[in-house]
Symmetry: C2
Subunit: 325 residues, 2 copies
Amino acid sequence: MKITLAYGGGGEETNKLIKDLFYENFKNDILIKAEDAAIINIDGKTAFTTDSFTIDPIFFNGGDIGKLSIAGTCNDLAMMGAEPKFLSISFIIEEGLHFNDLKKIVDSISTELKKVNAKIVCGDTKVVPAGSVDKIFINTSGIGKVIKDNISAHNLKIGDKILVSRDIGRHGSVVLAKRFGVDTEINSDCKILWDEVKALIDEGIEIKAMRDATRGGLSAVLNEWAEASNIRIEIEEDKIPISDEVSGLCEIFGFEPMDLANEGTFIVAVESKDAEKTKEILKKFNKNASIIGEVVEGEKVVLKTPYGSKRYIDLPKGELLPRIC
Amino acid sequence: MKITLAYGGGGEETNKLIKDLFYENFKNDILIKAEDAAIINIDGKTAFTTDSFTIDPIFFNGGDIGKLSIAGTCNDLAMMGAEPKFLSISFIIEEGLHFNDLKKIVDSISTELKKVNAKIVCGDTKVVPAGSVDKIFINTSGIGKVIKDNISAHNLKIGDKILVSRDIGRHGSVVLAKRFGVDTEINSDCKILWDEVKALIDEGIEIKAMRDATRGGLSAVLNEWAEASNIRIEIEEDKIPISDEVSGLCEIFGFEPMDLANEGTFIVAVESKDAEKTKEILKKFNKNASIIGEVVEGEKVVLKTPYGSKRYIDLPKGELLPRIC
């Protein structure tokens, strides 16, 4: 069975799709009562974010566009110290998409939602003629309750340490391999990061800056921080965790692992005194968590090789890999 | 100048687009400080909604996809008695879109925002390869403060009156005409409706149900209400305001004006005692506001013709007109 334009017309078929598939899988008290908008109760400092997911392929090792759309938006909230609470979901579906593919995506959204205390409370469905969109795009916006505030790219000070929560470049590598028809065992790191963030907050870590290294990868995050805080970040090459598979693939295609997207990997800056404790907490979630560098006087991002040489790591430029997320 | 994939890569060019075009036009204190998410303060009963806009053509008589994306989302909030406060905006842009077209859309968003006390506080930009999306799709999610609560499709009681805020079918007609290459003077009704709603609330009207008649038009709203409240709605054909141009176009193409989308026209249900006052308030905004029918015992939606005959108005079925909004 395929999705036809009628499912997006706002009439009988649209109602059926929404009730039988979406409500059935995402149901909760707020969603069921939602009309033109959902009515929610929130108080105080709140985080609000949006992300559109256009990834190609829609199914990949370690996830699919559905899982990604929940993890990506929850992570944007988590990175601001906010617990994900309320999500919206908006599907733009190409006429002719197999119903089973949509069902798999919806199942995967539903599975991911169970890992976090967040609900889908409102949504939208559009079906567009074949050729107007490639298979399916999803927008997820999210609202979260800020538990730990004042986390910002502007907070870095000389002496702060920089950590990465796990080995880098997995998500980008998976998409790269699939796009070029290379067989690989690599799984995307796609994952909701709220548990890791909550553990850091609960253990009293004073998080200064935090960012998931999505498009533009580790390079983009570090460059943004260096510019925002007007400092230099020095990174040690041999401290950056990269799996052999990701290294190998990057060599073949001439990519830089630090530029590759991640979808469940984050960078955190803490005061020097908190660095070891932060690493120990992160290691409970992934053994590859590592202190990769520190903040020094100056500007830009510098990579120190094991042989003592140094080079600048620039903000990625050009097209990189389109439709990575 | 055309938008290239580099503008969506998350690197230098993406930053330039965001800073020079989006920040410059939408700027406010919250947006400028937003990192992975915006930090907002909101208390109590809150409305939350999302909408993806995929309209073809992106420029039309009376608006464009930018104006529509602000009006559509603000209206979903307004229809729940909520004042639009915070918006997110997410662009999915096809590689090769002319920069000037994007600029026109951004200008139009900016103009529309000035009509309401709402800010764009967070956003997302994706550029996808040519052929992956048709020109530009926009998602706008919105958060509003509920000023008048308990507005719901479930509230209708026997004797309640049904009003429409202006003549129907304009937006659908404009898209229809443009799609089929018909020259027309009709303008879309595309408009933020918060001023109208606020006037009703300020004048003490007890709004029972309210809905903007978008996809599926007047027919879809009335059918949804009849089902939700388990009542019949009887409408008088000669009370439904329809312009001659819309009537004419519908005759040519065999469309039913009641099924056509609107983007700045709403239906409201009030107690009989409030009906005349509601009409007078709405007439200050559009002279075509009209009491079109009432709630009676039974089920479904019935249209009474001036000749005394009656027929059922069903929920629109089939594909109607794709990419209307």
